[in-house]
Point group: C2
Chain length 108, copies 2
DNA sequence: TTCCCATATTGCAATATTACAATATGTTTT
DNA sequence: AAAACATATTGTAATATTGCAATATGGGAA
């Protein structure tokens, strides 16, 4: 059906899955890594950096924005995008939480 | 087009994005958390645990298996699924790598 | 104002994903 | 062998995602 069933899952799981799905695309993951590394965060760089057309990049940026992973601020003619550290930390902590349960568990 | 462009992205990014995309579904994320927590890892539990039909769960399991996040071993009538710790660690390390770049960076 | 420049939005067309019923497969029990 | 159980596969319908051309928007420069 293409539609993802959400009834029966916790809010936390649904939100985290949504974030991971957004991260699960080469362009969007690249954008996150680029934003994490680069000192500036002007969007125009991305058009040159990524092998995708400008409208496509714009769409990916808006998805990242939708789930709160990045935030954009208008700065004159450009838009300054950067990672939202709080949201990013949430994701990292969730991963570390799963890892913790995993550690003290005997494998099959 | 529905097809994800991969030309121009590194192998690492493509693989990591693929893994995250697979994790980015409530059922599959729940399966990972369930496997991380539960002492046993019989698949049949999942059919009772998740609000989805058996064939659907089976498909999700095979996606998780495809990207190497879990491994299954036939154990008589049942199949023993468990998390592949090495793959999981790879994902965690990738997240921590991004976080590291993020830390020593001034925000907009 | 008019012309650029950076970015967003819209409107497709192609492909991918999701869910489940029905069915198949393989194993254990009787 | 037959029945029962656990899981996988197939087929199908509905919906989501992706990419880009064309276009819109909105700011700064001339």
């Amino acid at each position: 059906m293409g539609i993802t069933k959400t009834i029966g899952f916790s809010e936390t799981i649904i939100e985290m899955a949504d974030i991971l799905k957004v991260l699960g695309h080469p362009a969007r993951l690249s954008i996150m890594e680029y934003l994490a590394k680069s000192p500036s965060c002007i969007c125009n760089d991305l058009v040159e950096e990524l092998p995708l057309a400008q409208p496509t990049i714009s769409r990916h940026l808006s998805e990242l924005k939708r789930v709160g992973l990045i935030q954009g601020e208008i700065s004159g003619k450009n838009i300054c995008y950067c990672i939202h550290p709080k949201k990013w930390t949430e994701v990292l902590l969730h991963f570390e939480m799963i890892t913790t349960s995993l550690v003290d568990k005997k494998q099959c």
